[in-house]
Amino acid sequence: MVHLDFSRLRFLIIEDNTHMRRILRTLLYGFGSREVYEAEDGAAGLEAFVQYIPDIVITDWAMPIFDGLELTQMIRQPGANANPYVPIIMLTGHSEKHRVIAARDAGGTEFLAKPISAIGLYQRILNVVVNPRPFIKSKSYFGPDRRRNAMLNYTGPERRKGGSDMIGQQPLLEKVKA
């Protein structure tokens, strides 16, 4: 049976609400974590990220100074810090699809809509450890591969080219050949 040893992982929680920080810390300690650092806004979070080099970042979306999306974009700068590949779990009170897409496009690794539950947080952490996605670096994006699955039927924008190209419906014969 696979077991995730939380005591070997270093976490950074970035959340402006003191109560929510307490809940997250309690859950992480409950899982067995020993190293949990905290910051209460995006700027302090970036500073703590550079200082502590966490294994996993858990950040709220809505925060003063700069928010979780901006923080994620700052972390996802190749060469700008010690670990631009760090898994980032984005917490938010929003669960609308366009929010999820915005978090993904900023380079977030996982998305966790509030209310927070022990199992929801555990599963996100387990997923970033056990099933990390490759990173994609294009002229318009740097972050975890946004294609979680190979979709032969995908139609829509060709994001990796960063322009207005579209991927159209592939003829059946081509799909069969592929």
Partner: protein, 193 residues
């Protein structure tokens, strides 16, 4: 504790992007086999959260106080971008945390207020009476949390406020009253015992 030893990632280059496959450092250092008698981390975390939950009621009172402070700013300084931002932040906190703290209906009411602040075409014209109703309703739901029929009354209150928010966003006069009249005509948010 963090393993900072650098291991070069595998990079595959394409014409318009690179695919970077990183060595799974976290899996290597944190995944272990587990003995049968090892405590379940989820159970441990739930237990710890359960012990903490005795404080959730007072935390919600704190959240309500922050929301009332933000409302006071809107009342005294007017509906400006800054005062609406403070109000939205306080309401957003309750929307996000209310359910975690055991007050899902308070979260729903806060959600209605947030929705209006986020999506109204002219947020400066959101009726103050509607803001009052939402803030007072959240306070009442928290205060009467353990009262008889509290859940039923809170659900009805949350639904009524959501309807009003929807009507305000849709242009307001979906029925036979103006926005302000409709917002102001809400029943007293203090649930009857």
């Amino acid at each position: 504790m963090a393993d900072n030893k650098y291991v070069a990632p595998g990079v595959t280059k394409f014409s318009d992007h690179e695919v970077i496959v990183l060595p799974n450092r976290l899996k290597r250092k944190a995944i272990t086999s587990v003995a049968a008698d090892e405590p379940d981390p989820l159970w441990e975390a739930e237990e710890a959260l359960g012990e903490l939950s005795v404080q959730f009621g007072s935390w919600m009172v704190d959240e309500c106080t922050a929301l009332e402070r933000a409302r006071h700013l809107v009342q005294t300084e007017g509906s400006t971008a800054a005062t609406r931002e403070a109000l939205h932040r306080a309401a957003h906190d309750i929307r996000g945390h209310g359910a975690t703290l055991g007050f899902p209906m308070a979260a729903d009411v806060a959600g209605s207020l947030c929705l209006l602040l986020e999506q109204s075409s002219d947020p400066s014209h959101i009726p103050l009476s509607f803001i009052d109703q939402c803030v007072d309703a959240i306070r009442a739901i928290v205060r009467e949390h353990n009262g008889p029929h509290a859940d039923r009354i809170a659900a009805a209150l949350a639904q009524e406020l959501r309807n009003i928010a929807d009507a305000l966003m849709a242009g307001g006069t979906s029925r036979d009253r103006t926005d302000s009249e409709r917002a102001g005509a809400l029943v007293s948010p203090k649930p009857a015992r």
